[in-house]
């Protein structure tokens, strides 16, 4: 069986390498999309914002932002803080483009928070600095959200006791700045706590997404043989029918692995991507290709023709890829979306890369890899049974 399977594998690889579509799906498109997305959505790791904070309030809550959050962003290298005299000076420098952004904390900011009233933290953004503006706005909104939550708690307490504890108000800004979300705010923006940078994430996501298309060529191979009319000849040959199936799956496995490895290396060399410790990456890649084989084989076994199989497989591959978050990194508070990634091998793959890269420990890839392989096994068993039933002239 081994020799026959290898003979079929050799023939299939020869055909696939002559078939330009396999090059397109396995290498050109994922690499191209990674480059494209990297250009459209620049990595915030390289971003440095020139900004100023104008504290017109002078209260504790405002100080929490100006002296708590902002210095943390400076420490992370995201922000170059420029000292300005007043709000007018900040406004003028933003208008001139000398500053990318400026945060204006208005008079009465702390008191308003203490009283549970609506208050505005103004963010000024220079023309043409939309990305910097989005980051600045995100920082302000995150701070406001944290302060609002704490402020509400204080307000409730004040209402129940009949008065507001001045000490509590004083500690409000400090409390807000020390909240986990704010503490990690700079990290989130600069990607320090998310070790897969944007480019690496995209490259891995694209590779994971397209490997499901790459293995299609193998798992629809039996339908292709039937379409070509060569299946009777294969079945008439003095080989075990299982050898035909084995040859096809082996071809898909090799193509899938090759495309993933080449993309990992190419994205590292060309785009500076880093998927984390190589051993963990290799384990995750093997697991993902196994899952892709199982899922695609199962979907393909419900089809009567190669075309039908291709259509069904494409739909499943796209849905799983989208659910798995291959196109954009999901933020930590993405809630349902983040949970949904658990039903996709792509999601586990990216989760595994992220975990091992963040800790620099390849063993952290093992758990996600096991989950991915489980996808492969659960789908491959019924696929093999179904395909054997259909393996006839």
């Amino acid at each position: 069986m081994g020799s026959a399977a290898l003979t079929i594998l050799g023939k299939d690889l020869r055909l696939r390498l002559r078939d330009r579509s396999v090059w397109i799906f396995a290498l050109a498109v994922p690499l191209g999309l990674t480059v494209l997305f990297s250009l459209i959505f620049p990595d915030t790791e390289d971003l440095q914002i020139t900004g100023a904070v104008v504290d017109l309030d002078g209260g504790a809550v405002a100080a929490g932002f100006a002296d708590g959050v902002i210095p943390a962003l400076v420490d992370e290298g995201l922000l170059e803080r420029i000292v300005v005299a007043d709000a007018e000076a900040a406004r003028s420098q933003v208008t001139d483009g000398d500053l990318d952004v400026a945060w204006i904390l208005p008079v009465g900011f702390s008191d308003a928070i203490g009283a549970g009233e609506q208050v505005e933290l103004e963010v000024l953004v220079a023309a043409g600095r939309s990305l910097e503006g989005e980051v600045a706005r995100g920082i302000a909104e995150a701070y406001a959200a944290e302060v609002g939550r704490i402020g509400l708690a204080v307000t409730i307490e004040a209402a129940m006791t009949g008065g507001l504890d001045p000490g509590l108000i004083g500690g409000l800004g400090e409390l807000a700045a020390s909240q986990p979300r704010l503490a990690s705010l700079a990290d989130e923006v600069s990607d320090v706590g998310d070790p897969l940078d944007f480019t690496s994430y995209l490259a891995a996501g694209m590779a994971a997404f397209f490997v499901f298309f790459t293995v299609q060529f193998g798992v629809t191979g039996l339908l292709e043989e039937r379409k070509l009319g060569t299946m009777p000849r294969l079945l008439a040959a003095p080989i075990r029918p299982a050898a035909i199936q084995a040859g096809k799956l082996l071809g898909a496995l090799l193509l899938g692995l090759a495309s993933m490895v080449v993309l990992a290396v190419a994205s590292a060399v060309l785009l500076g991507a880093d998927w984390g410790p190589p051993l963990g990456t290799a384990i995750l890649i093997v697991a993902l290709v196994i899952a892709a084989l199982g899922v695609m084989a199962l979907v393909g076994s419900f089809a009567r023709t190669a075309e039908q199989a291709g259509n069904l497989q494409s739909i499943v591959a796209v849905v799983l890829g989208l659910v798995g978050g291959v196109f954009f990194p999901l933020p930590g508070d993405a809630g349902v979306l983040r949970i949904a990634t658990l039903i996709s091998p792509h999601g586990w793959f990216l989760r595994g890369l992220d975990a091992q890269a963040s800790a620099g420990d390849w063993t952290l890839a093992l758990g996600p890899a096991a989950a991915i392989v489980a996808f492969g096994i659960v789908t491959a068993i019924p696929a093999v049974v179904l395909q054997r039933r259909r393996q006839a002239w």
């Binding site: 020799s3 026959a4 003979t7 079929i8 023939k11 020869r14 055909l15 002559r18 078939d19 070509l228 009319g229 060569t230 009777p232 000849r233 294969l234 079945l235 008439a236 040959a237 003095p238 080989i239 075990r240 029918p241 006839a392 002239w393």
Partner: protein
């Protein structure tokens, strides 16, 4: 006992049903080395199902198959190694060259490298594709593809070569080349099982012929033996204008006519002594209200045998 051992193929009591359709019903046949055996019948007669079982692609519901003394089943690799199959539909890879196609299937049949190289050149020569050996099969003409299809079947030197309607859709020149190749293979001692619905091919190639209809072999023998089932009769074909069926019914009433069948505007009669019976025949047709526009008298062929046995014409 010696006679039994000489048979390359021995199929006995084959039966195969697909749901309510009995595709093959009690088919038995034997083929000796160097013998070309024809399965002659219209499309849907059960020829392809029969050879699918003989090639080990389908498991019979009943019956046994032995190829070169080995029992054939879908997993019988030793028996399969003795069979070369040329399916009715082209079974080659268009993106591989002729040589690559042959090499791939040769490897599947386990040919050693040196023998494979030798056989490649031999087969390419036999099928007339030596000059195009390294061209993609997809670029070949229909006839060249058919020849390559046959070449793949005979590459590994099988004891039994099964050809399922190998000339369907082939131009006359390629058809002749294919028939020449098959004749040559038989002279080299290969047993050939050849299915066709072309009477001329069966007459030219086959030492023995089985006439198949509705899954059953309705007659078997040499061409001479099959034609003898009609007797010493002549075939008279009358081209008529008018109701051919009524004309055939009128002709059949004559004592000299053993059968008369209408096919479109032609009445085909089996006649004892055509010269004497012809005037009466023409008179009966005229009396039925039809007029005769053409008369052909000839010796019977397998087409007439098939018509006589089944009441149907041998055609698509």
């Amino acid at each position: 006992m010696g006679q039994v051992a000489q048979q390359v193929l021995r199929a006995t009591g084959l039966r195969k049903a697909f749901g309510a359709l009995q595709a093959v019903d009690e088919v038995s046949l034997t083929i000796a080395p160097g013998e070309t055996y024809g399965l002659l019948g219209p499309n849907g007669a059960g020829k392809t199902t029969s050879i699918s079982m003989i090639a080990g692609l389908l498991k019979p519901d009943a019956g046994t198959i032995e190829v070169d003394g080995r029992t054939m089943t879908p997993t019988a690799t030793a028996a399969k190694a003795a069979v070369g199959l040329v399916p009715q539909d082209l079974a080659i890879y268009p993106d591989l060259s002729a040589r690559e196609n042959l090499r791939f299937f040769g490897r599947l049949y386990g040919l050693p490298k040196a023998e494979l190289t030798r056989r490649l050149d031999e087969v390419l020569s036999v099928i007339g594709l030596t000059d195009r050996a390294d061209d993609r099969a997809g670029e070949f003409s229909g006839g060249m593809k058919r020849r390559l299809n046959i070449g793949v079947g005979m590459l590994h030197g099988p004891k039994l070569l099964i050809l399922d309607e190998p000339t369907v859709g082939v131009d006359p020149q390629s058809r002749n080349a294919i028939l020449d190749s098959v004749e040559e293979l038989a002279t080299e001692g290969l047993a050939v099982l050849y299915t066709t619905h072309y009477m001329e091919e069966a007459e030219r190639l086959c030492d023995r012929i089985a006439i198949v209809d509705q899954g059953r072999i309705v007659a078997e023998g040499t061409r001479r033996e099959l034609i003898a089932t009609i007797g010493e009769q002549d075939v008279v074909r009358l081209t008529v204008a008018g109701d051919a069926a009524a004309a055939a019914a009128a002709c059949e009433r004559l004592p000299a006519i053993s059968s008369a069948d209408a096919e479109d505007d032609v009445v085909v009669c089996l006649v004892d002594g055509a010269a004497a019976a012809l005037p009466q025949l023409l008179a009966e047709v005229a009396a039925s209200g039809a007029s005769v526009s053409g008369v052909e008298v000839r010796e019977p062929d397998l087409e007439d045998v098939f018509l006589h046995l089944t009441g149907k014409a041998l055609r698509d």
